[in-house]
Symmetry: C2
Protein backbone atom coordinates (compact mmCIF):
# COMPACT_ATOMS: atom_id res chain seq x y z
CA UNK A 1 0.00 0.00 0.00
CA UNK A 2 1.32 3.42 -0.94
CA UNK A 3 0.47 6.88 0.25
CA UNK A 4 -0.22 9.60 -2.29
CA UNK A 5 3.18 11.08 -1.51
CA UNK A 6 4.92 7.83 -2.38
CA UNK A 7 3.08 7.66 -5.68
CA UNK A 8 4.06 11.24 -6.34
CA UNK A 9 7.72 10.60 -5.60
CA UNK A 10 7.87 7.38 -7.59
CA UNK A 11 6.36 8.93 -10.71
CA UNK A 12 7.63 12.49 -10.53
CA UNK A 13 4.12 13.88 -10.12
CA UNK A 14 2.91 16.56 -7.76
CA UNK A 15 0.49 15.33 -5.10
CA UNK A 16 -2.16 17.81 -6.23
CA UNK A 17 -1.82 16.55 -9.76
CA UNK A 18 -2.70 13.03 -8.64
CA UNK A 19 -5.77 14.34 -6.84
CA UNK A 20 -6.62 16.29 -9.97
CA UNK A 21 -6.40 13.11 -12.07
CA UNK A 22 -8.75 11.44 -9.61
CA UNK A 23 -11.15 14.36 -9.84
CA UNK A 24 -11.36 14.15 -13.62
CA UNK A 25 -11.66 10.38 -13.50
CA UNK A 26 -8.28 9.43 -14.94
CA UNK A 27 -7.19 7.83 -11.69
CA UNK A 28 -9.63 5.70 -9.69
CA UNK A 29 -10.85 6.66 -6.24
CA UNK A 30 -8.52 4.70 -4.02
CA UNK A 31 -9.23 3.11 -0.65
CA UNK A 32 -8.93 5.26 2.41
CA UNK A 33 -7.62 4.80 5.93
CA UNK A 34 -9.92 5.23 8.92
CA UNK A 35 -8.77 8.83 9.04
CA UNK A 36 -9.59 9.43 5.39
CA UNK A 37 -6.17 9.29 3.77
CA UNK A 38 -5.74 7.71 0.34
CA UNK A 39 -3.95 4.37 0.04
CA UNK A 40 -2.90 3.03 -3.34
CA UNK A 41 -1.91 -0.36 -4.70
CA UNK A 42 0.70 -1.25 -7.31
CA UNK A 43 -1.91 -1.20 -10.05
CA UNK A 44 -2.50 2.45 -9.31
CA UNK A 45 1.21 3.13 -9.44
CA UNK A 46 1.39 1.53 -12.90
CA UNK A 47 -1.60 3.51 -14.08
CA UNK A 48 -0.11 6.77 -12.94
CA UNK A 49 3.21 5.91 -14.58
CA UNK A 50 1.32 5.24 -17.83
CA UNK A 51 -0.43 8.58 -17.61
CA UNK A 52 2.75 10.48 -16.86
CA UNK A 53 4.71 8.81 -19.60
CA UNK A 54 1.95 9.56 -22.08
CA UNK A 55 1.93 13.18 -20.98
CA UNK A 56 5.68 13.36 -21.47
CA UNK A 57 5.10 12.23 -25.03
CA UNK A 58 2.64 15.09 -25.39
CA UNK A 59 -0.64 13.17 -25.47
CA UNK A 60 -3.58 15.24 -24.25
CA UNK A 61 -5.51 13.87 -21.28
CA UNK A 62 -8.49 12.92 -23.41
CA UNK A 63 -6.28 10.78 -25.64
CA UNK A 64 -4.72 9.21 -22.55
CA UNK A 65 -8.20 8.36 -21.31
CA UNK A 66 -8.79 6.34 -24.47
CA UNK A 67 -5.36 4.74 -24.33
CA UNK A 68 -5.92 3.66 -20.72
CA UNK A 69 -9.25 2.23 -21.69
CA UNK A 70 -7.61 0.12 -24.37
CA UNK A 71 -4.86 -0.90 -22.02
CA UNK A 72 -7.58 -2.06 -19.62
CA UNK A 73 -9.11 -4.26 -22.34
CA UNK A 74 -6.26 -6.41 -23.70
CA UNK A 75 -8.48 -8.39 -26.06
CA UNK A 76 -9.54 -5.37 -28.11
CA UNK A 77 -7.96 -4.44 -31.38
CA UNK A 78 -5.06 -2.04 -31.06
CA UNK A 79 -6.00 -0.05 -34.14
CA UNK A 80 -7.48 2.70 -32.02
CA UNK A 81 -4.28 3.07 -30.00
CA UNK A 82 -2.22 3.30 -33.13
CA UNK A 83 -4.45 5.90 -34.67
CA UNK A 84 -4.31 8.03 -31.52
CA UNK A 85 -0.53 7.82 -31.68
CA UNK A 86 -0.51 8.72 -35.35
CA UNK A 87 -2.74 11.68 -34.69
CA UNK A 88 -0.33 12.80 -31.99
CA UNK A 89 2.58 12.39 -34.41
CA UNK A 90 0.83 14.57 -36.99
CA UNK A 91 0.19 17.17 -34.30
CA UNK A 92 3.85 17.17 -33.31
CA UNK A 93 4.92 17.45 -36.94
CA UNK A 94 2.62 20.40 -37.50
CA UNK A 95 3.99 22.15 -34.48
CA UNK A 96 7.58 21.53 -35.54
CA UNK A 97 6.91 22.98 -38.98
CA UNK A 98 5.27 26.04 -37.51
CA UNK A 99 8.03 26.61 -35.00
CA UNK A 100 10.68 26.23 -37.69
CA UNK A 101 8.98 28.98 -39.70
CA UNK A 102 8.91 31.18 -36.62
CA UNK A 103 12.54 30.44 -35.96
CA UNK A 104 13.60 31.70 -39.39
CA UNK A 105 11.56 34.89 -39.06
CA UNK A 106 13.01 35.54 -35.63
CA UNK A 107 16.55 34.82 -36.78
CA UNK A 108 16.11 37.13 -39.72
CA UNK A 109 14.71 40.05 -37.77
CA UNK A 110 17.34 39.71 -35.07
CA UNK A 111 20.09 39.43 -37.68
CA UNK A 112 18.95 42.56 -39.50
CA UNK A 113 18.93 44.85 -36.50
CA UNK A 114 22.00 47.08 -36.33
CA UNK A 115 21.13 48.52 -32.90
CA UNK A 116 20.51 52.20 -32.26
CA UNK A 117 17.19 53.72 -31.24
CA UNK A 118 13.82 52.01 -31.13
CA UNK A 119 12.78 54.03 -34.18
CA UNK A 120 15.52 52.34 -36.24
CA UNK A 121 15.01 48.86 -34.80
CA UNK A 122 14.35 46.19 -37.40
CA UNK A 123 12.75 43.95 -34.82
CA UNK A 124 10.10 46.54 -34.06
CA UNK A 125 9.67 47.37 -37.74
CA UNK A 126 8.98 43.77 -38.63
CA UNK A 127 6.50 43.46 -35.79
CA UNK A 128 4.70 46.56 -37.02
CA UNK A 129 4.44 45.29 -40.56
CA UNK A 130 3.92 41.69 -41.55
CA UNK A 131 4.78 42.48 -45.17
CA UNK A 132 8.40 42.61 -43.92
CA UNK A 133 8.12 38.88 -43.32
CA UNK A 134 9.08 36.22 -45.82
CA UNK A 135 6.26 33.90 -44.81
CA UNK A 136 2.91 35.14 -46.09
CA UNK A 137 1.19 33.65 -43.08
CA UNK A 138 2.04 32.37 -39.64
CA UNK A 139 -1.50 31.16 -39.16
CA UNK A 140 -2.23 29.30 -35.93
CA UNK A 141 -1.02 30.98 -32.75
CA UNK A 142 0.51 28.34 -30.45
Amino acid sequence: MHTIGTLARRTGTKVQTIRYYEQIGLMPEPGRTEGGQRRYGDVDLDRLAFIRHSRQLGFPLEAIRELLDLSDHPARDCGAADSIARRQLREVETRIARLQALRSELERMIGECRGGTASECRVLEVLRDHSECLADDHDAID
Copy 2:
Protein backbone atom coordinates in the same frame (compact mmCIF):
# COMPACT_ATOMS: atom_id res chain seq x y z
CA MET B 1 -13.31 55.99 -36.83
CA HIS B 2 -13.69 52.23 -36.64
CA THR B 3 -16.02 49.99 -34.69
CA ILE B 4 -14.62 47.08 -32.73
CA GLY B 5 -15.96 44.76 -35.41
CA THR B 6 -14.01 46.56 -38.12
CA LEU B 7 -10.82 46.31 -36.08
CA ALA B 8 -11.51 42.64 -35.56
CA ARG B 9 -12.05 42.01 -39.25
CA ARG B 10 -9.03 44.02 -40.34
CA THR B 11 -6.64 42.24 -37.98
CA GLY B 12 -8.13 38.77 -37.85
CA THR B 13 -8.95 39.07 -34.16
CA LYS B 14 -12.09 38.05 -32.31
CA VAL B 15 -14.09 40.95 -30.90
CA GLN B 16 -13.88 39.48 -27.41
CA THR B 17 -10.13 39.24 -27.73
CA ILE B 18 -9.88 42.98 -28.37
CA ARG B 19 -11.98 43.69 -25.30
CA TYR B 20 -9.74 41.28 -23.39
CA TYR B 21 -6.64 43.20 -24.50
CA GLU B 22 -8.28 46.39 -23.28
CA GLN B 23 -9.07 44.76 -19.96
CA ILE B 24 -5.47 43.73 -19.36
CA GLY B 25 -4.21 47.12 -20.51
CA LEU B 26 -2.59 46.10 -23.80
CA MET B 27 -5.07 48.14 -25.82
CA PRO B 28 -6.12 51.60 -24.61
CA GLU B 29 -9.66 52.43 -23.56
CA PRO B 30 -11.06 53.95 -26.73
CA GLY B 31 -13.60 56.73 -27.09
CA ARG B 32 -17.27 55.80 -26.95
CA THR B 33 -20.41 56.85 -28.76
CA GLU B 34 -23.34 58.41 -26.89
CA GLY B 35 -24.76 54.94 -26.62
CA GLY B 36 -21.55 53.52 -25.15
CA GLN B 37 -20.05 51.72 -28.14
CA ARG B 38 -16.26 51.76 -28.70
CA ARG B 39 -14.84 53.83 -31.56
CA TYR B 40 -11.22 53.40 -32.60
CA GLY B 41 -8.74 55.48 -34.60
CA ASP B 42 -6.04 54.31 -37.00
CA VAL B 43 -3.45 54.37 -34.23
CA ASP B 44 -5.45 51.73 -32.43
CA LEU B 45 -5.64 49.65 -35.57
CA ASP B 46 -1.85 49.78 -35.90
CA ARG B 47 -1.39 48.86 -32.28
CA LEU B 48 -3.68 45.87 -32.56
CA ALA B 49 -1.90 44.77 -35.73
CA PHE B 50 1.41 44.97 -33.85
CA ILE B 51 0.03 42.86 -31.02
CA ARG B 52 -1.42 40.25 -33.34
CA HIS B 53 1.69 39.99 -35.44
CA SER B 54 3.80 39.57 -32.32
CA ARG B 55 1.44 36.87 -31.10
CA GLN B 56 1.76 35.08 -34.45
CA LEU B 57 5.49 35.05 -33.88
CA GLY B 58 4.82 33.45 -30.52
CA PHE B 59 5.69 36.33 -28.19
CA PRO B 60 3.85 36.12 -24.87
CA LEU B 61 1.65 39.06 -23.96
CA GLU B 62 4.05 40.31 -21.29
CA ALA B 63 6.84 40.49 -23.85
CA ILE B 64 4.50 42.30 -26.24
CA ARG B 65 3.73 44.80 -23.53
CA GLU B 66 7.43 45.67 -23.35
CA LEU B 67 7.79 45.76 -27.12
CA LEU B 68 4.84 48.13 -27.42
CA ASP B 69 6.33 50.34 -24.79
CA LEU B 70 9.58 50.57 -26.75
CA SER B 71 7.70 51.19 -29.94
CA ASP B 72 5.94 54.06 -28.16
CA HIS B 73 9.30 55.62 -27.23
CA PRO B 74 11.30 55.86 -30.47
CA ALA B 75 14.27 57.59 -28.86
CA ARG B 76 15.11 54.72 -26.52
CA ASP B 77 17.77 52.18 -27.23
CA CYS B 78 16.55 49.12 -29.07
CA GLY B 79 18.71 46.71 -27.09
CA ALA B 80 15.76 45.63 -24.95
CA ALA B 81 13.67 44.80 -28.02
CA ASP B 82 16.45 42.72 -29.46
CA SER B 83 17.01 40.82 -26.27
CA ILE B 84 13.29 40.04 -26.00
CA ALA B 85 13.42 38.70 -29.53
CA ARG B 86 16.52 36.63 -28.78
CA ARG B 87 14.87 35.20 -25.71
CA GLN B 88 11.89 34.25 -27.85
CA LEU B 89 14.21 32.64 -30.40
CA ARG B 90 15.83 30.53 -27.70
CA GLU B 91 12.39 29.51 -26.48
CA VAL B 92 11.38 28.45 -29.99
CA GLU B 93 14.62 26.51 -30.44
CA THR B 94 14.09 24.67 -27.18
CA ARG B 95 10.58 23.71 -28.17
CA ILE B 96 11.71 22.51 -31.59
CA ALA B 97 14.37 20.29 -30.03
CA ARG B 98 11.90 18.81 -27.60
CA LEU B 99 9.29 18.18 -30.26
CA GLN B 100 11.84 16.53 -32.52
CA ALA B 101 12.71 14.11 -29.73
CA LEU B 102 9.01 13.35 -29.25
CA ARG B 103 8.60 12.86 -32.97
CA SER B 104 11.27 10.15 -33.10
CA GLU B 105 9.79 8.29 -30.13
CA LEU B 106 6.34 8.45 -31.65
CA GLU B 107 7.58 7.34 -35.05
CA ARG B 108 9.41 4.45 -33.50
CA MET B 109 6.52 3.18 -31.41
CA ILE B 110 4.11 3.49 -34.31
CA GLY B 111 6.57 1.77 -36.64
CA GLU B 112 7.04 -1.15 -34.29
CA CYS B 113 3.38 -2.01 -33.86
CA ARG B 114 2.30 -4.96 -35.95
CA GLY B 115 -1.39 -4.64 -35.08
CA GLY B 116 -3.38 -7.31 -33.31
CA THR B 117 -4.83 -7.02 -29.84
CA ALA B 118 -4.20 -4.31 -27.30
CA SER B 119 -2.17 -6.77 -25.26
CA GLU B 120 0.32 -7.07 -28.13
CA CYS B 121 0.37 -3.39 -29.03
CA ARG B 122 3.82 -1.86 -29.01
CA VAL B 123 2.34 1.62 -28.62
CA LEU B 124 0.70 0.66 -25.35
CA GLU B 125 3.78 -1.25 -24.21
CA VAL B 126 6.01 1.75 -24.71
CA LEU B 127 3.57 3.97 -22.86
CA ARG B 128 3.54 1.51 -19.97
CA ASP B 129 7.30 1.39 -19.74
CA HIS B 130 9.61 4.28 -20.37
CA SER B 131 12.64 1.97 -20.47
CA GLU B 132 11.36 1.01 -23.93
CA CYS B 133 12.26 4.52 -25.02
CA LEU B 134 15.57 5.52 -26.52
CA ALA B 135 15.61 8.91 -24.81
CA ASP B 136 16.36 8.58 -21.11
CA ASP B 137 14.23 11.60 -20.39
CA HIS B 138 11.51 13.63 -22.05
CA ASP B 139 11.65 16.16 -19.23
CA ALA B 140 9.39 19.16 -19.66
CA ILE B 141 5.77 18.45 -20.51
CA ASP B 142 4.58 20.96 -23.14
